[in-house]
Symmetry: C2
Subunit: 191 residues, 2 copies
């Protein structure tokens, strides 16, 4: 449920500590909006520590959460490849530290560092890999089943992530989430 990428995390840390590249560290307080949907930015971020949510919002103000991002996950990178605007907003849930790289630096690394290139390829592939089944699962199964699944994946999710965000992640309203949680508390020993 909270995606991470230890391999990339380790690698970027190595690049950063070696110096010589323009990789900056940035700090954000909780609830900081780091990038906004439909904009352009000149840099990408890679999470060093903390949790962020990546979400799309529609004109009615509803949010649909795409992913929760943990250490090693990057965001703002899609725009490097095709020069279009961002599709998601990203907001910190906890205190957040990121490494940031300009598009230029990022491109340079892609072209000259084949290990980096391969790691990014893999990271993109995994974003596809994990997104696909999640949405279909959510459509196909009742809310309660989805919650049980999340509980397996990340037992403390209810304590760590605000209810509103959990609801937006599953694609339901907070009301429906509450109903399902109440049922589960009566039925399942897990809850």
């Amino acid at each position: 449920m909270i995606r991470t990428n230890p391999e990339l995390s380790t690698y970027i840390h190595k690049l950063w500590s070696q110096g010589g590249l323009e990789i900056e560290e940035e700090d954000f307080a909780p609830k900081a909006v780091i990038i906004k949907q439909d904009r352009r930015y000149g840099k990408i971020h890679l999470i060093k520590e903390g949790i962020a949510k990546c979400y799309i919002s529609d004109e009615n103000g509803r949010e649909f959460i795409q992913e929760f991002l943990g250490a090693g996950m990057e965001f703002g990178e899609l725009e490097v490849f095709d020069n279009l605007t961002t599709i998601c907003s990203v907001e910190s849930l906890t205190k957040l530290q990121t490494y940031s790289l300009s598009h230029q630096t990022y491109r340079k690394l892609l072209n000259t560092d084949s290990k980096f290139n391969a790691l990014i390829m893999k990271a993109l592939a995994n974003k596809i890999r994990f997104k696909a089944p999640r949405h279909s699962y959510q459509h196909s199964y009742p809310i309660e089943d989805n919650l049980l699944r999340l509980k397996q994946l990340f037992p403390e999710f209810i304590e760590v992530i605000p209810k509103k965000d959990i609801a937006n992640y599953i694609g339901i309203t907070p009301r429906s989430l509450n109903r399902a949680l109440k049922e589960l508390k009566e039925k399942s020993p897990l809850f």
Copy 2:
């Protein structure tokens, strides 16, 4: 609704016609299952011509369609990067022609042909880019709105794609699809 990638299509055609690389052409009849979910394959496909559906099926036999693939779209490529099993099945809707490349050839191209490398990066990024808003749109808006949107994107979709597949694409049942279509026929001049 039917994704294509003209740039990659052109490029692979060029590589193929130059010769020297092990790129094969393959032909499939309609309804051929080309790759199956949760398996391993040693090659990737890139569509030369025709339309295929890429779908996840659950244990109850329900299908959830991820994408309709047209010329220039590749499939079976995610597994090159992390050596895991396929997440989707892919089945031809029309007569289908593909170029196929062994993982080995594909990797070699990624490592030696930087134009190819960039095109694949971009293709992966676009798969992410297009998937995200689609699912959230489908959750947030009523079925009828989704159908109107599809009609804009691809006016002949009702004639070209079987109803069952349209329903699975939107993530609803054929019954609900029919209801919505009936309403639209009465209301909207488009239908």
